[in-house]
């Protein structure tokens, strides 16, 4: 019998703990597929964050470390330095990466650590129950911005790709979305490219997924996709910010 679809070897058979309509499952699968296709699994290590994807260490089928909130890039630095013969990625949400872990991500990127950072941006804290994130949009209501995010009081959403793009060392920076089948196919290519560069030890690679959180947004899954397209993409424009492989004389 011919196998036409199966679970990637890089995912365990443990059931995801995500809400219906959540895009974490999609990004997990894209990463796992890319690792399988690039035959990186036996040299792969990952770092799970604190947030909804805290159990990512159970889902990826290779050695994983669970980091303290925001510290994944520092943990990954220690792992990569300890095992330069292996490949390391972190998987982080917006509170993790762009609030409590701002120092760790900026400095890991600035050192040009040979790691890949997957950044899931859904503009809200999911696991703790829908509080305001550093990427929450102006006017957006959350459980800790009940009157809407007031940018005069608390500032504008942090744009992670743009921030990291101000540093010289990173090798590859791209923002993709998981908001339509076409976007997901495109995201897969970008994930694979980042991991390919990781495998080739080219330096720091960063992929941001514009994602949804139907549960905490209080919007049905399909409508959440449209809401994100309409409201998030103007703040978080998709596209490649840097690809050193395209530059001459690298």
């Amino acid at each position: 019998m011919e196998i036409i679809a199966q679970r990637p070897k890089s995912l365990t058979d443990i059931q995801f703990t995500y809400c219906p309509g959540c895009t974490h499952g999609i990004s997990h699968r894209l990463i796992a597929e890319a690792i399988d296709e690039l035959e990186m699994r036996n040299q792969m290590m990952g770092v799970a964050p604190v947030g909804c994807s805290v159990f990512a260490y159970k889902f990826f089928n290779f050695d994983m470390a669970e980091a303290a909130h925001g510290r994944a890039p520092a943990v990954a630095t220690g792992m990569k330095r300890a095992r330069p013969d292996m490949h390391v990625f972190t998987y982080q949400g917006d509170g993790d990466l762009a609030a409590i872990g701002t120092a760790e991500i900026i400095h890991a990127a600035n050192r040009g650590e040979n790691i890949t950072v997957f950044f899931v941006n859904n503009a809200i804290y999911g696991m703790t129950g829908g509080q305001m994130a550093p990427t929450t949009l102006p006017g957006m209501k959350t459980s800790t911005s009940p009157y809407g995010r007031d940018e005069k009081d608390i500032g504008y959403p942090i744009q992670a790709c743009e921030l990291i793009n101000s540093l010289r060392a990173p090798y590859f920076i791209e923002r993709v979305s998981l908001l339509s089948p076409q976007d997901i196919l495109k995201a897969k290519k970008v994930v694979k490219k980042a991991l390919q560069f990781n495998k080739e030890e080219r330096g720091f690679t960063f992929v941001e997924f514009v994602s949804t959180c139907p549960t905490n947004w209080g919007i049905e899954p399909v409508k959440a996709l449209d809401w994100a397209k309409e409201n998030m993409l103007p703040f978080f424009p998709l596209g490649n910010f840097r690809d050193r492989s395209l530059e001459g004389g690298e």
Binding site: M44, D63, A65, G78, R81, A82, E104
Partner: protein
């Protein structure tokens, strides 16, 4: 016999760590431990090791977490305010059963305090500091030689029990120079053995099924019944450490002792001078110097309190922290008196003598 070299404590402990097989060191500069990070930055490239000056003490301890998760000997160091920042990571290391060595070159506190020697971090080191039910093995050196020797011991104990180990020194031991004799460097074969000793649980290169492994470096157990078992298991480990690893020095302990002093680290150095001078004058004073301040030598103290001993004097460079443990050991049998100095100031042997002889203010 190996050659003796004159070295600062900060440099001696760094050299000894490298000789013990540490090839991964992560830290952030802070006085009075900066010679340690500077020494590592010079030496690590020469031994094919890895040195990262981290963006913060928090990042440094998390780099240690990652490197230790890969089964490698790894270390960080700091001084009091920086150690406070590391407490988050230390709790995670303990929760995930990870070995690591943390050097604290204590300075005066609280807050920013000053940069002089102090022992105000005793509570933090021995009673927690980070959150949750955990224990650090805490070694307290009293000479530069002992400081260096403890690097080796700390790595061995860390690996044996899969537990973080702190070396609790202070600005005096970090900054002073004394002759030190080092153990030889680990051979390539020994280093390889060290790296592979943790392959049953650590992150390391994988294979396809059926030999594929999925190791998790983790302190999260969301199910209370599983977390309960996890913490009970930690407790059993701490019991084992307490049973096996208590270390202390008996100084001038005899049947003639009229007073027993308890002091650790730099305070014990000064107390020894006072005890020697009193002995010459015909008064016999003994001392118990805890070398492990966790696990604590309660029984060692209890066992030297024969009928002639009138009181116990505890000398610390703080407002009175270890004295609580001494009181537990003495259990009300005889008076326990305390002599403390704070602000990064040391007491003199004369001050200790006066306390022992009840002659303060004379």
């Amino acid at each position: 016999m190996a050659e003796k070299v004159l070295m600062k404590g900060n440099e001696a402990v760094a050299e000894a760590a490298i000789r013990a097989g540490c090839r991964l060191y992560f830290a952030y500069p802070i006085t009075p431990q900066s010679e340690l990070i500077e020494y590592m930055s010079r030496m690590m490239p020469k031994v094919d090791g890895n040195f990262v000056q981290a963006e913060s003490e928090i990042a440094a301890i998390n780099m240690v977490y990652g490197a230790s998760g890969c089964g490698r000997r790894t270390m960080t160091s700091s001084s009091s305010p920086g150690i406070s920042l590391k407490m988050e990571g230390i709790s995670y290391l303990a929760g995930a059963n990870l070995p690591a060595v943390i050097v604290n070159v204590q300075r005066g506190g609280p807050g920013l305090g000053d940069i002089q020697p102090a022992q105000g971090d005793y509570f933090q080191a021995t009673k927690g500091g980070g959150h949750g039910d955990y224990r650090l093995i805490v070694l307290a050196p009293s000479t530069v030689q002992e400081f260096a020797d403890m690097a080796d011991l700390a790595f061995d104990l860390g690996d044996k029990y899969r537990n973080p180990v702190m070396i609790l020194s202070d600005g005096l031991l970090g900054q002073m120079m004394e002759p030190v004799e080092f153990k030889p460097y680990k051979t390539e074969e020994e280093l390889k053995q060290l790296d592979e000793q943790h392959f049953d649980w650590c992150m390391h290169p994988n294979e396809d099924e059926p030999n594929h492994h999925h190791h998790e470096i983790n302190s999260l157990e969301i199910d209370p019944l599983i977390l309960e078992q996890h913490v009970i298991k930690l407790g059993k480990k701490y019991d084992k450490i307490t049973k096996n690893e208590i270390r202390y020095e008996k100084y001038n302990i005899s049947d003639d002792n009229e007073v027993v002093v308890v002091a650790f680290g730099t305070a014990a150095r000064i107390a020894k001078s006072a005890i020697d001078e009193l002995q010459e004058a015909g008064t016999s004073i003994g001392m118990i110097r805890p070398i492990t301040v966790w696990p604590y030598p309660y029984d060692a103290i209890k066992n030297v309190l024969h009928d002639k001993v009138k009181k116990v004097v505890v000398c610390e460079l703080n407002l009175g922290q270890m004295v609580e443990d001494v009181k537990l050991a003495v259990n009300g049998k005889i008076p326990v008196e305390f002599l403390g100095k704070v602000g990064g100031i040391l007491f003199t042997p004369d001050e200790i003598k006066a306390k022992i002889l009840d002659k303060q203010g004379e």
